[in-house]
């Protein structure tokens, strides 16, 4: 662990990560009839101190991706490298120990808090597991954490159901912060809250990031929130990344037709402004039998013949703007020479 901070500039590197859920049939002898390809070959990097937004419609595999990175689900294939250490090769026990470095904030704040435990014990649990502190020191830390997330230390004696929705998510954040993690995976932390609370929680997350130098992988489907919070944004469709670039670039110059369609769906605050809204045909196809070639070709307004046959790779079209679309492969050839091979 010592010295790895300096050695690697990336905090987290995900390489060709796949998570398949087997589909089985049969009562006694179960035959393997296919896979739900929830995450199918995703690669990206997260740099220390940044926020990477991960957006996509529901069912595209973004939550599964978050869980697979933390090995709450065992990856089917691929690598997750955290601070130069390959998580996928660690034993269960080694993995358990390294969990203090990366924490998760869950979508449903109430469901993620044990209803039979007092808040003090819920927030104190990671400290109890990972650190050698006596009771008094631990309670002190818990009180401090409650203060940090905007609650009062005497809230510690209560049970989760006695809190409001926003307060519960603050508890979830306090638990994630308890052991000073480097990376926090936020799995739609605001989508269960109403709008006024969403802003509060987002502000809290931003303050905490500045204060503790945290790195976020922020999974969401609210594009406006993601734009506000993220340095870079990745767009996911049916288990694959289709576009990855800086936040401003994505919103100003989206390249992938799916991203363009998604962005056109953001409600605008100006009622008179004309919305060039693109409505995609049909539903997202099944991830058991994803379409051949480019997965988006069944719904793409700019589909070409090649899209049905060849799956486009995620390539850099310049300025670290990654797109997986045949529309932009030519562009790559033009710019490609000047762009050094990105790992």
């Amino acid at each position: 662990m010592i010295g790895t901070n300096k050695a690697t500039e990336t905090l987290l590197k995900v390489e060709n990560l796949k998570k398949y859920f087997p589909v089985k049939k049969g009562l006694v002898i179960q035959r393997h009839v296919g896979d739900v390809k929830a995450v199918d070959g995703v690669s990206f990097e997260i740099y220390p101190g940044e926020t990477l937004g991960m957006v996509g419609e529901s069912g595209c595999g973004k939550s599964t991706l978050g869980r697979t990175i933390l090995r709450l689900l065992e990856p089917t294939q691929g690598k997750v490298i955290f601070q130069g250490q390959s998580l996928t090769e660690l034993s269960r026990e080694e993995m358990r120990k390294i969990r203090s470095q990366m924490q998760m904030i869950f979508q449903d704040p109430l469901a993620s808090l044990n209803p039979r435990m007092k808040v003090r014990d819920i927030i104190g649990e990671p400290i109890l597991i990972h650190e050698v502190l006596n009771r008094v020191e631990r309670e002190k830390r818990v009180s401090k954490l409650l203060n940090i997330v905007g609650l009062s230390p005497n809230h510690g004696e209560r049970y989760p159901h006695e809190f409001s929705g926003g307060q519960r998510q603050r508890l979830g954040i306090a638990r994630a912060l308890a052991v000073n993690p480097k990376l926090i995976i936020c799995d739609e932390p605001i989508s269960a809250l109403d709008v006024s609370l969403q802003a509060q929680i987002i502000n809290l997350l931003e303050d905490l990031q500045a204060e503790f130098n945290l790195t976020y992988l922020f999974i969401a489907h609210d594009l406006a929130m993601v734009k506000h919070l993220s340095n870079r944004v990745a767009v996911m469709y049916l288990g694959k990344l289709v576009e990855l670039t800086s936040s401003e670039e994505l919103y100003l110059h989206p390249r992938h037709p799916y991203t363009i369609a998604l962005l056109s769906a953001i409600p605008l605050p100006y009622p008179n402004q004309k919305k060039g809204r693109i409505i995609l045909k049909g539903d997202a196809p099944s991830s058991v039998n994803p379409p051949s070639g480019c997965r988006f070709h069944t719904r793409c307004p700019e589909m070409q013949d090649i899209c049905k046959v060849m799956d486009p790779e995620l390539i850099d079209i310049g300025n670290k703007h990654f797109v997986a679309c045949h529309l932009h492969t030519d562009e790559k050839k033009k710019v490609g020479n000047s762009v050094t091979n990105h790992q």
Partner: protein
Amino acid sequence: MKLSKGSQFGLYIVALMTLVAILAETIAPYDPLQVVLKDSLQGPNFKHFMGTDLLGRDILSRIIYGARASLIIGVTATSISLLIGLIVGSVSGYYGGWVDSLIMRLTDIFSAFPYFLMAIIIMTFFEPSMISVFFVLGIAGWTNYARLVRGQVILVKVSSYVEAARSIGAKDGRIIVHHVFPNILSPLIVYTTMNIPGVILAEAGLSFLGLGVQPPTPSWGVMLSEGKDFIFNAPWLIFWPGAALLFSVIGYNLLGNGMRDRLDPRYKQGGESNGSRLVNSCQRS
């Protein structure tokens, strides 16, 4: 929310029975084993409130001591079942996969085995006594607990808070003890309460057949067995132990019902009435 009237009544019966069992020495008017042949087969009178049996033993005292036998067997056998069921069921439910399949098939085999037959087999190896009754009934009963616990564990283990516990690096043991157990407790308490009268009845059945508690130790089943020959000329011999059994079983069942209502989280949160729950479930289906 308070217990309903019926359940309160149940609670009183159970409390009374427990008190009687604990204070048997103090409140029993006679020694339950003392044979007084000249008082043989007396009907209820002022000296012997419930009458006497063939050997002139005071029935009230024997009923009081019998409550102790029933309670000890009910609680001990249930605890044995609960302990085995808790361990087997939580391992099966938590780990799943082939472990689960194997354990559940073994459980099926066990529950298909009639416990009277098992009692007879065990009694051929050991002397029939209170201890052997513990084991027969304890081992006969664990399968239901295992199934109940397994189902609840499966329900809880996919919950977000168990996932959260795993994500903070809690070990399996810690997750089971701190996160799973406390959340499966309510249905378990209810089932245990409802199960005790079954065990008490089973003990009476075993003792009646001579496979359980052995005479002269007073037990309601033994008393029924001894009294059955005098059913016409001394009916109080079977009336009192029968009534004692009836009341204790009713008491535990009423209490169990009340606890189920009390501990059901749906009741706790919304205070929904039975009717609206019915409507909800109809709408859902």
